[in-house]
């Protein structure tokens, strides 16, 4: 976000509400951090000054606890269980419906998705990298997913540089953070007295221009840059490389798969919180009157039973093969499919695994001989 320092502006702390107010005025439903069930989630702000200060969360494998930021910053939290994914790739939605008319013929109709203009305030570099991967899956030329596309086009993304990575974060290792580099409309870096702000799109530029802000000083830009470097240096977890395709695919019979399967609940929480996981299931929901039916799409997981079900048999009936499918797809065969790993280093799968299985630890164990 610092590639064109002359374009950077400075948004004083006291003016943050003006940014939100302007987005609201432009008709955006503004989502920002809120506390729910002991976690920081993205919920609609009811007023321009509705962004909370001082939120922070301590994260560890299988553990997430809210704390207070002693510096009372707006964005000193690393990430919550979800950011952008549910807004673009809906957890459950109707794709189409069919009705039987009086003559007995079937009439099919598309279901137009509700796609409100939404601004999400506080997304992170990892979230943006993940969104680019979701775009690659849902919006390839020639087979765009209309429902995803409708919501995606309506998003206005206000990214924030991570100053305080969680203990579960490893975006520096995957090359996806902690400073946002692409994919945002606006990006902010929070300093003591305000935000270094840069636009990443025309609509972001228009919003920034309308705020009539002073240019950020070289000192402010430098402080923000250093803050990002310090956040990267503070991360303790890593992956042993950005392309683990051969390392993992040559170890499909490694005993570690059995070991992790003994600990894994196959609950699918890792896949639900993963910002790049895109698997879904489809089913028909017939109405009770027997004359119409809706075709539904819901988030699915490779840890579930039906995901591996082919006609008459299940290709992944046990937890070992399901965990292996998840990890090898995410870190290995994703390269064949999308030209990069499917992991953006957000660490959500580590923090939100109810039994604290740590992907970086599993990869290290699986690839130990390769690295030595």
């Amino acid at each position: 976000m610092f590639s064109q320092p002359d374009r950077a502006r400075f948004l004083p702390l006291a003016q943050l509400h003006a940014l939100v107010a302007q987005l609201m005025q432009l008709g955006y439903q503004c989502l920002g951090p809120a506390v729910e069930n002991g976690a920081i989630v993205m919920r609609e702000l009811d007023a321009p000054d509705g962004l909370p200060r001082g939120l922070q969360a301590e994260q560890a494998a299988g553990r997430y606890r809210l704390t207070r930021d002693p510096l009372n910053r707006y964005f000193a939290w690393a990430n919550g269980p979800q950011a952008i994914k549910p807004q673009a790739f809906a957890p459950k939605e109707s794709l189409w419906r069919v009705e039987r008319d009086d003559a007995g013929a079937l009439q099919f109709a598309a279901v137009e998705p509700a796609a409100p203009a939404q601004a999400i305030i506080g997304v992170r570099a990892c979230d943006l990298a993940a969104l680019a991967l979701q775009d690659a899956h849902f919006l390839p030329a020639g087979r765009r997913d209309a429902h995803y596309a409708a919501r995606r086009e309506q998003l206005f993304l206000v990214a924030v540089q991570c100053a305080e990575p969680g203990a579960t974060c490893f975006c520096a290792s995957t090359g996806d953070g902690p400073t946002p580099t692409a994919g945002y409309d606006l990006a902010l870096a929070e300093l003591a007295e305000g935000f270094v702000a840069v636009a990443g799109s025309a609509k972001g530029g228009a919003v920034l221009d309308a705020l009539n802000l002073s240019p950020a000083t070289p000192q402010q830009i430098d402080a923000a840059r250093q803050q990002g470097q310090a956040a990267a240096a503070a991360q303790t977890r890593t992956l042993p490389g950005r392309n683990l395709r051969e390392a993992l695919m040559s170890r499909l019979e490694h005993p570690r798969w059995d070991e992790v399967a003994a600990r894994c609940l196959a609950c699918g929480n890792c896949t639900a919180v993963c910002p790049t996981c895109f698997c879904h299931a489809e089913a028909d929901e017939p109405a009770l009157d027997g004359h119409s039916s809706r075709h539904e799409r819901v988030w699915d997981s490779c840890f579930g039973e039906s995901h591996g079900y082919l006609h008459g048999f299940n290709v992944r009936s046990d937890i070992r093969t399901r965990y292996r499918q998840w990890l090898t797809h995410k870190l290995a065969t994703w390269h064949d499919q999308f030209g990069r790993s499917g992991c953006v280093g957000c660490g959500r799968c580590i923090a939100w695994c109810p039994v604290g299985i740590d992907l970086t630890e599993e990869v290290a164990a699986l690839t130990a001989e390769v690295r030595s």
């Binding site: 957890p91 609940l265 929480n269 109810p354």
Partner: protein, 267 residues
């Protein structure tokens, strides 16, 4: 379940009660308008709680709530089976013996003697058992109680001539689709969601509390891993046993999990 039931001949449906609290029947009764729509498509020949009484009628589908808990129950379920094309067990009592099956691991006669002034007036079997222990069951709908939506989905499938969908995924699946943060992670509570079957819509985690397993074991339920995590959250072996020995205590997966801890710990 191969022969589809064709309209316009209305399938004859019965709802029977065994040892239970009536909560699953209430799930059906509480459907309101949907129940009226349903009543237009089926012929409800026996549903004591709603009015129609004809317990001996031949029916296409019999829904059975409750566990087999008395000598009389054993005879009655055989009779119902003989008069029903399809028999569907609904709820934790009918699928796993219910809360009353907690007596299965205890001396029930002694409890009766302690509680009732005339224990000889009580005629109950030593064990409370699911319907499938006595007769062939065509489909099981788990839950305590089952939800109205589940009931409708089953009836609807049968009306369309297809087998009902048997979704044995974990509660976590529904929990995450609803956008609820994991309470085990954010609050350290001993949630049964990761080993429990979907169906309730993650009701308890949605209210900020832990799942207590009323929908019974999910497929591939890794109870060992969950018990180990409960221990690291600070639960005693006895408390862990109690998590598995609740509403679905006799569901084989939950019973085995509890027995394993009892053998290895002081639970």
């Amino acid at each position: 379940m191969n022969a589809p039931m064709k309209n316009p001949v209305k399938p004859r449906v019965a709802v029977h009660k065994f040892s239970s609290c009536d909560g699953c029947q209430l799930a059906l009764l509480n459907l309101g308008e949907d129940l009226l729509t349903l009543a237009g498509r089926v012929d409800l020949v026996h549903f004591a709680e709603a009015g129609p009484l004809d317990p001996d009628a031949d029916v296409d589908v019999a829904f059975v709530e409750g566990s087999v808990s008395t000598p009389e129950d054993v005879e009655r379920i055989r009779h119902i089976r003989a008069h029903s094309r399809l028999l569907i067990a609904i709820g934790a009592c009918a699928t796993a013996g219910g809360i009353q099956a907690l007596r299965n691991g205890a001396d029930g006669a002694q409890w009766v003697a302690q509680i009732y002034s005339h224990p000889e007036a009580i005629s109950s079997l030593a064990q409370s058992t699911p319907i499938s222990s006595h007769v062939k069951v065509d489909f099981e709908l788990w839950g305590c109680p089952v939800s109205g939506a589940q009931m409708l989905a089953v009836v609807n499938s049968l009306l369309l001539g297809v087998a009902p969908r048997d979704n044995a995924d974990k509660v976590c699946t529904e929990c995450k689709r609803n956008g609820y943060p994991c309470v085990m992670v954010s609050r350290g509570v001993a949630c049964m969601g990761p080993v429990t079957r979907v169906g309730c819509g993650a009701l308890c985690p949605g209210l900020g509390r832990d799942c207590y397993g009323c929908y019974g074991p999910a497929e591939n339920a890794n109870t060992d891993a969950l018990a180990a995590q409960f221990a690291s959250l600070g639960l005693t072996p006895q408390a862990i046993v109690q998590r598995f020995q609740s509403i679905n205590s006799q569901a084989p997966v939950f019973l085995a999990a509890a027995d394993k801890i009892r053998m290895h710990g002081d639970g």
